[in-house]
Subunit: 253 residues, 2 copies
DNA sequence: TAGTTTTCTTGATTTGGATCAGTTAGATTT
DNA sequence: AAATCTAACTGATCCAAATCAAGAAAACTA
């Protein structure tokens, strides 16, 4: 009999049909028997520790990866050695999509905290999509969603101020946490100020100052990684957006 | 007998198998008989005039569009009325990919000059992809390519200076023209300084000044829309990249 | 072809955010 | 628990690019 306080590795190996992410992830909209077929090709490796790589730039592309628990950053290395963060990924979000066309990963992905990652061998996934129309459809949707999010981010970086960028970032995170069943107003950031700054095109000092300012303005309470949003509407107003619609609920079509 | 100086509309309605873009566009890597099946679902509408919309934000998504000749900008409208350019599209490039998942266009697309646009009804394309594995593969690649380009652009906007942005933009255009059989060093910009600035996150005055500076430095010759690159290596050096690899040649896999 | 509008260029000034520098407070190690 | 290390905060200064302001040159238009 095992110690009930120790979470066994096996418990992390949840089948797709029992996974809490099934409404966010690839299985969405699939018939139960098709979910089983998908499940059969998923590799569930042991959890990665903070700093471990899921994949690195220029590695051969074999699989897509889905975050099951934890969080991941993707980044590209600059010639000068510094890194440019290009994305943060929460449970249910997929990694490696940009590598399909080049057959090589165009960026690196490393986990920000202990994370469970599902691996989906792409050739097998592609075969399966050819024989399950709803899976093919879901994959097109997934790729499309990624493009939509990138486009939105492009618009943000192309135009807005530091204030608007950080506000949008926080609203985006809040919405994504909420959809995953976590609090929309009280959460921990798994990334550093430096990483947020890189992602938003700001210096880390600017990020830090903005957090302080947002707090002084009563919009939120922040203590290091711990953020509590106190005035969601006020924060939303700063984003100058109708809504931060990235990662919105996917209505089956 | 028709006037040989008048280009008839029929001549623009080239079948995919005779189209010069077939190595850049969806038919790439398809067997001839499959190209014919694809060809059968393509709608070839009459050319659009400068300023005409291909689609508008919030319109229902029915089709993807491919630029056959001319050029298109995609942009999103800001609450304050101003527009944010999110992309420029040359022949062989595809529009509307972000709408697959939402079933609504997330941005507007309008042509920058007289342009011929092929329309691909998405439901029929999806059906076809289900029965032609190489078409499914090509579509995944196409979506993936778009993600890769967006990611690259994100990295550019997240980090670099005005100089690096414009240099990267010009190198990107140059490479894309070259791949389409046009001169890599002598071309016309179909977009305004204002639109370039919007896309690159710069004021139009900054773009104008940079063109002047690049010219003073002997990197290029510019007269309004007409650009001639005189020192490709020098311009490349400003980008601080190994290579501007967006829109690279697609080796069949 | 003169008049109007739009686009582009150039100069002067301002400013948001970067950079530099130093401090503080957790976290980790010993 | 002291010592070390790292991430976060804050202040001072600087600068690249925005903004403001004309003017010039195309591109329409009547």
């Amino acid at each position: 009999m095992s110690d009930p306080n120790v979470i066994s590795f096996d418990k992390i190996k949840v089948a797709c049909k029992n996974c809490s992410l099934s409404t966010l992830c690839l299985p969405m909209g699939l018939a139960p028997e098709d979910v089983d077929r998908l499940d059969a090709i998923v590799k569930r490796n042991r959890p990665l520790q903070r700093g471990d790589h899921v994949f690195r730039t220029d590695e051969n592309f074999r699989s897509l990866y889905v975050v099951k628990t934890g969080s991941v950053k993707t980044y590209s290395q600059c010639p000068d050695g510094s890194e440019q963060v290009v994305g943060f990924h929460l449970p249910g979000e997929i990694l490696g999509l940009d590598a399909i066309q080049t057959n090589r990963h165009g960026c690196s992905a490393r986990v920000l905290e202990t994370s469970a990652i599902c691996e989906l061998p792409f050739d097998r996934l592609e075969d399966l999509a050819g024989s399950i129309p709803s899976l093919q459809h879901q994959m097109f949707r997934l790729l499309s969603k990624e493009i939509g999010q990138d486009t939105e981010m492009l618009a943000l970086l192309g135009k807005s101020t530091a204030e608007e960028r950080l506000a949008s970032f926080l609203m985006s995170l809040s919405g994504r946490f909420k959809r995953r069943g976590f609090s929309a107003t009280d959460f921990f950031l798994s990334m550093s100020r430096q990483e947020i700054g890189s992602y938003l095109g700001l210096a880390l000092e600017t990020v830090s100052r903005l957090f302080t300012r947002f707090q002084d303005e009563g919009l939120l309470k922040v203590e290091r990684k711990h953020v509590q949003i106190l005035d969601m509407d006020g924060l939303q107003a700063l984003t100058n957006h109708q809504a931060t619609c990235s990662d919105q609920a996917q209505a089956p079509s």
